[in-house]
């Protein structure tokens, strides 16, 4: 469904993405992992056309996305930091985005699941971080689209909401949706991801299933596996 082909991106002196090639298959939940500044968000943004690769290409359904916009009808993106116009109410926002996308959306069930219905008529700038994140989630799941991209979806969520999110993700997978997400919570990843891509300083250090990464690093948990990958890389650097 999505292919990153030798994507390179440099911001000033910083090589953010270095020859990144990844395939994401349809109906698969892929987690992109990596420490802060490893290029996860930038990678996602190249798919969304928000960041334009210096070289390489990004394909969606076999076609390059660069310079195009219509393909985004089939993608919903939930950004890391909730980016909303501040003086809209939640309801206004939920009604605005479908209009801008020219797509119908159903959010009645979703707002109940996340408790958003309780503050539907509050303005965005009156909401707490957690509340915003819930609105963010509703926005992400209210469209019937094949690809959902979530950047740190668990940020600021209370445990009940996280549970609800997990449930939701499983349901979506059953519907055949493709999901790409990033997260710092390794438990969450271990439970939710079919495949893992590990990025370090813009380079893909690992791609495969959870089992494969555990095997390869000889670890018992994903947390351990990731830590060992980071350390290993540091050693290589030290020797070099």
């Amino acid at each position: 469904m999505v292919r990153f082909i030798e994507v390179c991106k440099r911001f000033g002196k910083l090589q953010v993405l270095d020859n990144v090639s990844i395939d994401v298959e349809k109906g698969i939940r892929t987690a992109i992992l990596g420490p802060n500044g490893s290029g996860k968000t930038t990678l996602i943004k190249t798919l969304l056309g928000m960041v334009i690769p210096d070289s390489g290409d990004v394909l969606f359904k076999g076609e390059s996305v660069i310079g195009k916009h219509k393909y985004r009808r089939e993608i919903v993106y939930m950004p890391q930091i909730a980016l909303f116009p501040q003086n809209l109410t939640v309801k206004e926002l939920l009604d605005l985005i479908p209009k801008l996308r020219r797509q119908s959306a159903r959010y009645d069930g979703l707002i109940e699941r996340f408790g958003v219905n309780e503050f539907m008529h509050k303005k965005m700038n009156a909401l707490s971080g957690g509340m915003r994140q819930k609105v963010n989630l509703v926005l992400a799941f209210m469209f019937d689209v094949p690809l959902i991209i979530l950047d740190e979806p668990t940020n600021g969520l209370d445990p009940v909401a996280v549970l609800e999110l997990k449930k939701l993700l499983r349901e979506e997978e059953e519907k055949g949706r493709t999901i790409i997400f990033t997260s710092h919570i390794m438990d969450f990843v271990q439970q939710m991801a079919d495949r893992i891509v590990f990025l370090l300083e813009g380079v893909v250090k690992f791609k495969g299933t959870v089992e494969e990464i555990l095997q390869e690093t000889d670890s018992s948990s994903l947390e351990e596996a990731v830590a060992s990958l980071i350390l290993k890389n540091q050693k290589v650097k030290d020797y070099a």
Partner: protein, 260 residues
Amino acid sequence: MLKIIGYVIKDLLRNRWTLFYLLFYLLVGFAILIFSGDFSKSTVSFLQIILILTPLIGTLFGVMYYYNSRDFIELLLAQPIRRRDVFIGQWLGVSVSLGTSLVLGLGIPFLWYFAQYEVAGDQFVLLLLLGFALGTIFTGLAMAVSVSTDNKIRGFGYALVLWLLMAVVYDGFLLLALIAFRDYPLEKFALIATVFNPIDLARITILLKLDISALMGYTGAVFREFLGSTTGMILASSVLILWMLLPFALITLIAKKRDF
């Protein structure tokens, strides 16, 4: 794009600054008409507002609105909307709101005045149109500047410098040039120089209405040709419209290459 323009306008309607701007114009409009004694003096005062303030306010609003809605812009960019449309939509939305404030803010006092005294309305309508155009151009230029830099302070700085250049400094240099090269034929140069500054262009357009008696006293042939007919006004206003396309091109171009 229309939806974005519509959204921005709605957004600005709730914005305190838009209201402030409208009230400011209302106040200034009434003040000028009441206190300046006669209409021709008011027209000159309005002219200065149109030439100096509308570009400034356009600049400030352009920068402010862009940086304040950067989050929302990112949200929009992730939607199936053409990149150009996102930015142009923002620009036009802000311009239309500002322009409406201007037209209402100065138009209402004028209508009130017009109801009492018999004065020529065409000059005033021209002033409003030019104000609208200048506001739009400078909002666009400010946005182009803002889109090209993430640093808010720097963006503000550049945009203000651009305004200052166009509104004041440019004419200073033009005057210096005219004095320095006074021994050469300068007609064409002087005319062409105004084309490169939308504020000057707007000024010349209104001069053709306001000061035609004086302009007709000018000796040069090219000048007379240009100023002495309606061609001059049509030409000046069409170049002004071309100027409105410049931010469009700039924003499209800059936005195309930017990462968000």
